[in-house]
């Protein structure tokens, strides 16, 4: 039983990470803001930084959890 529970928890955790990455790719909390820094609206800087972060998180996922929920068993990494 133990490994299955662990796998489910890991799927839930990474699923949450994916959801947060998707949900905040658009900075909803800056809605209607028109502040500009260095020639670009701040919300564009947020988006650029956020997608950079997404790339890093995706990389960590490929190193630590690739196969989760798709491959069978615990033999991955």
């Amino acid at each position: 039983m133990q490994p299955i529970v662990t796998e489910r928890v890991r799927i839930a955790l990474w699923g949450t990470v994916a959801f947060v990455l998707i949900a905040l790719a658009v900075p909803w909390f800056m809605w209607r803001s028109d502040a500009v820094i260095a020639g670009l609206p701040v919300w564009i800087w947020w988006h650029v930084g956020w997608l950079g972060l997404a790339s890093v998180v995706f990389y960590v996922f490929t190193q630590r959890a690739w196969g989760l929920g798709v491959e069978r068993g615990e033999n991955r990494g």
Binding site: A18, L21, I22, A25, V26, P27, W28, M30, W31, R32, S33, D34, V36, A38, G39, L40, P41, W43, I44, H47, V48, L51, G52, A54, S55, F58, Y59, F61, T62, W66, G67, G69, V70, E71, R72, G73, N75, R76
Partner: protein, 488 residues
């Protein structure tokens, strides 16, 4: 735009390079369907990353996206970033990695073949292929129309539409039938790199000419201050989410993108591509769409034509503008050639060979190539007439493909899915979505701005799950076919 000989020279040089690459690929391509359609599943990171990227980007990146940014503000960067950079990357793993593993183990070439095998159903296989071709055909037609029109504009009418579009069609038939997926992917890789270099070149050049991003943005703030504020106008939260979700799921079911899920050489290639995806998206879309938004500050409007070439004409020399237009042509061709190849594989393998009992393996090679030529010729002829119905189908193709995605994901991950569930989910969502496009009494927007595409996707999901729960799998269904996957 002036200097027609120079511009024709640039386009011709570009076509010749693509032809040479196609011939090189032809030398190493053998006669099997797996090699022709999937390059024997041997793509490395650079080729897979750029062929998928170049395939995703059509005329839209260079013309449509900057036009929307110039007309409604640069929020389009967020729509495309959310859709392409994050949502599609997640689907790359959820759908793509699973399909890749299945393709490795079971040898699938197409989505319809995979589903037909799992559910023991030729009907499902033919249905999925037919639905895909229904949405793909007019979309290819629009690309040819775009290329032909761009060539007319570039040469100021010296090359008539039918010569431009027809020449490009003929050219694509030659190198796609010769070299198959390998030729397509190698040319895509060159085209993708070329586009990236061109967009950054344009970005730097225009900014140098106008005095930097601060000056360009101040100008925009003086003419269209609303553009700098996030949201507003076209961009409601419902619009942003509906558009990004619908396009991302739709893209994953586009034949030419879905088939690329099968072609990676190894798990490592898929991992690297997945992690690099958001960065590549930002690198291309931020400069391309900001140029579009800034153009509005200099009085350039989409009403005058495509804003990116107009902006370049204003601030860069003619040869450079011609190079960027060549980049846009590259974008259109790299999408069209992939669509022709994948469309013909659906047509010949999933429909013709299932329906015609005399189809033999021996004729596969010929059939594959005839399929490409036929598909290309038919879309070209359709583009000459540009029937309104086809244009409408092409414009709504992303939503049409998006309807397939959720039933497919359910099938990939839930062994309880039944054939009847799949047929209901696919037919139900397609019927609803088609009705929303063509039947006036069916609304295209729901609950304060959610698109019919999103509503149809939810409907397809509910139908697939509920009908599966209510029915029992037939003996010939293989519930475990998509399970117990193991890399290496």
């Amino acid at each position: 735009m002036a200097n027609v000989p120079l511009q024709l020279g640039i386009i011709t040089a570009y076509l010749l390079i693509a032809l040479v690459v196609g011939l090189l690929a032809y030398r190493v391509t053998d006669r099997t369907a797996e090699d022709y359609y999937l390059a024997s599943r041997t793509f490395g990171t650079v080729v897979l990353l750029f062929t998928t990227f170049a395939t995703l980007l059509s005329a839209f990146t260079f013309f449509g996206g900057p036009n929307i940014s110039a007309g409604s503000g640069p929020e389009w960067i967020l729509v495309m970033g959310l859709m392409d950079g994050v949502l599609f990357a997640v689907l790359w793993y959820v759908i793509g990695y699973k399909q890749w593993l299945l393709g490795q183990r079971e040898g699938y070439l197409t989505l319809g073949q995979m589903l037909g095998d799992r559910f023991g159903s030729t009907v499902l296989r033919v249905l999925v292929a037919a639905v895909s071709i229904f949405w793909l055909f007019p979309y290819v037609m629009l690309q040819q129309q775009g290329a032909g029109t761009a060539l007319v504009a570039l040469t100021e009418g010296a090359v008539p539409y039918w010569v431009g579009a027809g020449g490009i069609t003929l050219f694509m038939i030659v190198y796609v039938t010769l070299a198959g997926m390998r030729g397509v992917a190698w040319t895509d890789t060159l085209q993708g790199l070329f586009m990236l270099v061109m967009v950054w070149g344009a970005f730097v050049w225009v900014l140098a000419a106008v005095g930097g991003p601060t000056a360009a943005t101040s100008k925009l703030a003086s003419t269209d201050p609303e553009f700098l504020a996030l949201g507003g106008g076209l961009y409601s939260p419902q619009y942003v989410i509906s558009t990004a979700v619908s396009i991302a799921f739709g893209v994953s079911m586009f034949p030419q993108v879905n088939q690329r899920f099968f072609v990676a050489e190894s798990k490592t290639v898929l991992k690297r591509t997945f992690a690099l995806w958001p960065v590549l998206v930002i690198l291309l879309f931020v400069p391309a769409f900001m140029l579009g938004a800034w153009a509005a500050g200099y009085g350039i409007s989409p009403a005058d034509g495509n804003v990116l070439p107009l902006l370049l004409n204003e601030f860069t020399p003619g040869w450079f503008a011609a190079l960027v237009v060549a980049g846009a042509m590259a974008a259109m061709m790299s999408s069209s050639d992939s669509m022709l190849l994948s469309g013909s594989s659906y047509l010949t393998r999933d429909i013709y060979r299932q329906v015609v009992s005399t189809a033999t393996q021996r004729r596969e090679d010929l059939l594959a190539r005839v399929g490409v030529a036929l598909f290309a010729a038919l879309t070209f002829v359709a583009s000459l007439f540009q029937p309104g119905t086809l244009v409408e189908i092409g414009d709504t193709a992303f939503g049409g493909f998006a309807q397939l995605a959720l039933p497919v994901i359910v099938a990939l991950y839930w062994t309880g899915t039944t054939r009847k569930g799949m047929l209901s989910g696919v037919l139900g969502s397609q019927t609803f979505y088609l009705a929303s496009v063509f039947v006036p009494v069916v609304p295209s927007s729901y609950l304060g701005g959610w698109s019919a595409s999103i509503v149809g996707m939810v409907l397809g999901l509910i139908l697939t799950v509920s009908v599966s729960l209510a029915t029992v799998a037939a003996p010939e269904e293989n519930a475990s076919r998509f399970s117990n996957l193991q890399a290496e």
